[in-house]
C-alpha cells in the first residue's frame, strides 16, 4: 500500500479489516467463494500487536518462562 496521501483509503481498509499488502491487479475473477476467501486471507496482514500483547500476557502467567515471542518477533527486545 502506497503511503502518499492515501490516509482515507488506508483508514477505510483498516475498517474493513484488511491490509492488503500489494494490489498488483485491478480486476480479478474467482471460481468460488472459498477461492476468494483464500485470496483475501493471504492478503490480510496479522497485526504485530497481537504477538506483543501475547508476550506480555504470557509473561505474567506461570508456565513456560522461555521467551517464545523472541523467536516470533525476531529475537529482539
Amino acid at each position: 500500500m502506497k503511503h502518499q496521501s492515501q490516509f482515507s483509503d488506508e483508514q477505510q481498509s483498516r475498517q474493513a479489516g484488511t491490509e492488503h499488502q500489494t494490489q498488483p491487479e485491478a480486476a480479478r475473477e474467482f471460481a468460488s467463494a472459498e477461492e476468494m476467501l483464500r485470496y483475501d486471507a493471504k492478503q490480510t496482514a496479522v497485526p504485530p500487536e497481537i504477538a506483543r500483547r501475547l508476550q506480555k500476557s504470557t509473561g505474567d502467567l506461570p508456565g513456560p518462562k522461555t521467551a517464545w515471542w523472541k523467536r516470533w518477533l525476531g529475537g529482539g527486545q
Binding site: 483509503d9 481498509s13 475498517q15 474467482f30 471460481a31 476467501l37
Partner: protein, 188 residues
C-alpha cells in the same frame, strides 16, 4: 501447572503461533467483522491455548484445536453483542428465491475493494453459513474436520456448503451490481 519443560513448551507455543496466527486472525476478523475485536479475540484465543498447552493430547490437529477455541470465543462475543443490539428480523433471505448458480465465477473489478466487499457479504449471511465458508476456505481442513467443528456430518457440511455458496454468490453479485449498496442484515 504441570506439563512439558519450559523450553519445550515455549518452543511449542512459538510454533503454534507461527503456524496458525493468520488462520485464527482471519477467522476472527471475518466472523466478527471488526479488526479491533479480531485482534482482541486472536490474543485471547492464543492465551487460552498457552494456558492449556499441556492439556493438548493430539487427538485433533493443532489447527482444529485452535479453531474450536476461536469459534467458541467468537460465538460468545457475538452472542453478547447480539443480545444487546439485535431484535427479531422476519425478512426472507433474498437468496432463497434468487436464481443464481452457486458455481458461477465471482468477478471483482477493484481488487483493493475486495476485503470490504467480502465483509459486507459475510455480515449479511447467517452465522452458520459464514462460519462454514470460512472454515472450508482453509485448505488444511477436511470436510470431516469442518463437520467436527460445526457439529454436523460431512454430508451435512456438503449440503449446507452448497446453500452457503449460493447465498454468498447472490449477495456478492447484488452488492457489486449495486455499487457498494449498504446491505441489510438478514438474520443471525
Amino acid at each position: 501447572m504441570t506439563g512439558p519443560p519450559a523450553d519445550l513448551a515455549s518452543a511449542a507455543f512459538s510454533s503454534l503461533y507461527a503456524e496458525n496466527n493468520r488462520a485464527i486472525y482471519y477467522l476472527a476478523l471475518r466472523y466478527l467483522g471488526d479488526p479491533q475485536k479480531a485482534e482482541d479475540a486472536t490474543h485471547d484465543v492464543f492465551l487460552k491455548a498457552f494456558r492449556k498447552l499441556d492439556q493438548f493430547r493430539g487427538e485433533a490437529s493443532h489447527r482444529t484445536w485452535l479453531y474450536r477455541i476461536a469459534i467458541n470465543h467468537c460465538r460468545n462475543l457475538q452472542q453478547a453483542w447480539h443480545d444487546r443490539h439485535v431484535f427479531a428480523n422476519t425478512d426472507d433471505p433474498i437468496w432463497d428465491c434468487a436464481v443464481a448458480n452457486a458455481d458461477s465465477p465471482l468477478r471483482v473489478l477493484e481488487i483493493k475493494e475486495l476485503g470490504r466487499l467480502i465483509q459486507k457479504v459475510l455480515d449479511a449471511l447467517p452465522d452458520e453459513y459464514r462460519l462454514l465458508l470460512l472454515l472450508v476456505a482453509d485448505e488444511e481442513l477436511s470436510y470431516e474436520q469442518v463437520g467436527m467443528l460445526t457439529e454436523q456430518s460431512p454430508d451435512a457440511v456438503r449440503g449446507k456448503l452448497h446453500r452457503a455458496r449460493k447465498a454468498f454468490t447472490v449477495l456478492f453479485k447484488k452488492y457489486t451490481d449495486s455499487n457498494h449498496e449498504t446491505p441489510k442484515p438478514i438474520f443471525r
